[in-house]
Amino acid sequence: MRDVRLDDLAAILTIAIAVLTGVVLLVFSLPSIPYVHLSIIWDPVSRFFGILAFVFGTLYVSLLALLISSPIGIGAALYIVRYAPDKVKRYYSMIVEAMASVPSVVYGLRGFLVLGSFFGAFKANKLVASLTLSVMLLPTIISLSRASLESVPREIVEAAYALGAMKHEAALVALGYSRNQILGSVLIALMRAVGETMAVTMTVGNVVGVSMNPLDPGSTLTSLIATEFGGAMDPIHRSAIIFAAFLLFVISLTIYSIARRVIGRGEEK
C-alpha cells in the first residue's frame, strides 16, 4: 500500500491557494477594466477610476519610510554584529522581537494620536504615515541585515585585519561583502511597506491627490481598499477596488522575486 501523504496534500493546497488568490483577484477585477484609467482622478460617482494617485501614494510613503529606516536599521545591525558586547546582543534580539510583534493598529494608533499631534490641524499626512511605517520596518531590516552580516566568513574580516584595517574598516569590509543580502533585506522591507494596511490607513489622511509635499495628506492602494471596499455598493466600484488589490498583489510579488534574485546573486559568491 502506498504511504499516506498528508504533507503532499498540504503542499498541493499551498500551491492551489497561491494560484487561486491571483486568479480570483484577476477575475473579479475584470468588469472594471473599461472604467480604470491611468489618471489621478478617482470618481466613483461617474465611474471614472484613475488608479495613479494611489500608486503614487503607496510608492511615496513606502520609499520615504525606507529612506528613514534603512540607514538606521543597517547601522544598528552593523553595531550589533561588529561592535556590541554579548550582553547587549542578547537584549537587542529581544527588543527586535518585541518590535516585530507589536500589532500594526497599535503602531497606527500611536502614529495617529502622538506623532500626528505635532502637526496640529493636519494630524494625518504622508510624513506621519512614513514615520510610523519606518518604525515598523526596523525589525525586518535589522534582523535580516544582522543575519547576513553574521554569515560573512570569518576569513574575510580576518584578512582585512591582516592588511592593517582598523575596526571600522573591517566593519565596512563585512558590510561590502554582504551588500547583496542587505539590499535584499531592504527590498523585503519595501514589500512589507507596500502591503502594510492598518498603520498607513490610520495615519495617511486618506485624501486622494498627488502632492510631493510630505505634509499633505494622501492615499495608498491599501488605504483605498481598507476605507472604500466596505461601503462600495456599485459593483463596478467594488471591482475597481479589487483591481487595486490585484495591482498590490502584482507589485508585492515583483518586489519579492527581485529580492530573491538579489539575495541569490549574493549567495553564489
Binding site: D8, S101, V105, V194, F229
Partner: protein
Amino acid sequence: MERRNKERAFGILLKLLGTLAALPIFIIVAFVVYNGIRAISRDFITKTPQGFGENVSGGIAHAIVGTVFVMIVASFIGIPLGVLTGAYLSERKESKLYRFVERSVGALMGIPSVVVGLVVYLLLVVHTGPCAFAGGVSLALVMRPMVSESTRVALASVPQEIKEGGFALGAKRHQVLVDITIPAARKNVLVGIVLAVGRAMGEAAPILFTAGYADAMPRSVRDPAPTLPYIIYVYALYYPRDVYRLRARGASLILLAISLSFVYLSRRWRYERYRIRKILSVGR
C-alpha cells in the same frame, strides 16, 4: 591621527543608530501603558458596550471573546496545514513539485494581508456573511506560511541519523515524521506556532471584511465577531470622540500585553529560535 578619529566617530555613529533603533519600542510601550491604564477597569474587560455616542459605557468583552473565537478557528485550520507544508518543505526536497511549493509559500508570505481578507470575502463571506468563522479562515491564511517556514527550519535541524534510524526499523515515511521527526523538534515547532499565532492575532487588515462588527457578544462562530485590533481601528478612526479614543487606548493596552506575552512565551524555548525569528520578521 585622522584615521583614529574616523574610527572613533564611526563607532559612536553606529552606537547612536543602534540606540535610535531600539528607542521606539520603549516609547510605544510607555505610551500605550500610560494612556491605556486609565481605561482599564473590571467592567472594561467583562462587559459589552452599552449605549451610544458620548454615553457609551461598559467594556470590550465582546472583542476579547471575538478574538478568542477567531483565533480558535484560525489555529484549527492554519496550524495543521502550516506544519504539514513545513514538513513537506523540510523532508521532500526530491519531489517534482518542491520548487513550486517553495515559491508558493514565499508568495503567500508576501501577499498583503488586506488582500487575503478581500479574497476570503469574495469566496466565502458573500455566502456566509461576515462571521467569526470567515475571520478565522483569513487569519489562518495569514498564519500558515509563517508556520510552515518556521516548521521547515525546525524539522530540518533534526539530525538525519535519527530519521534514518526510524527508516531502518521499517517505519513508513509518515510514521517517521509523526513519531520521530516532529517530536524531536517539537519545541522549535511550538516556538514558530506560538509566534505565528501571536502575530496573526494582532492583524486587523484581514478581519476588516470578514469577521464583521457588532456590539453584542458572539455566541457561535457564525456570529459577527470583531477582534481587538479591529475595534481599535474602528474606535480610533470612525468615532472621533474622546470616549472612544480612550476605549481604543485601553484595548491597545490589552492587545499589546497579549502580543508581548506570546513573545515571552516563545522565549522560554531557545534552540533554533534565532532563525525562526528571522523568518517571522519577514512575514508581515
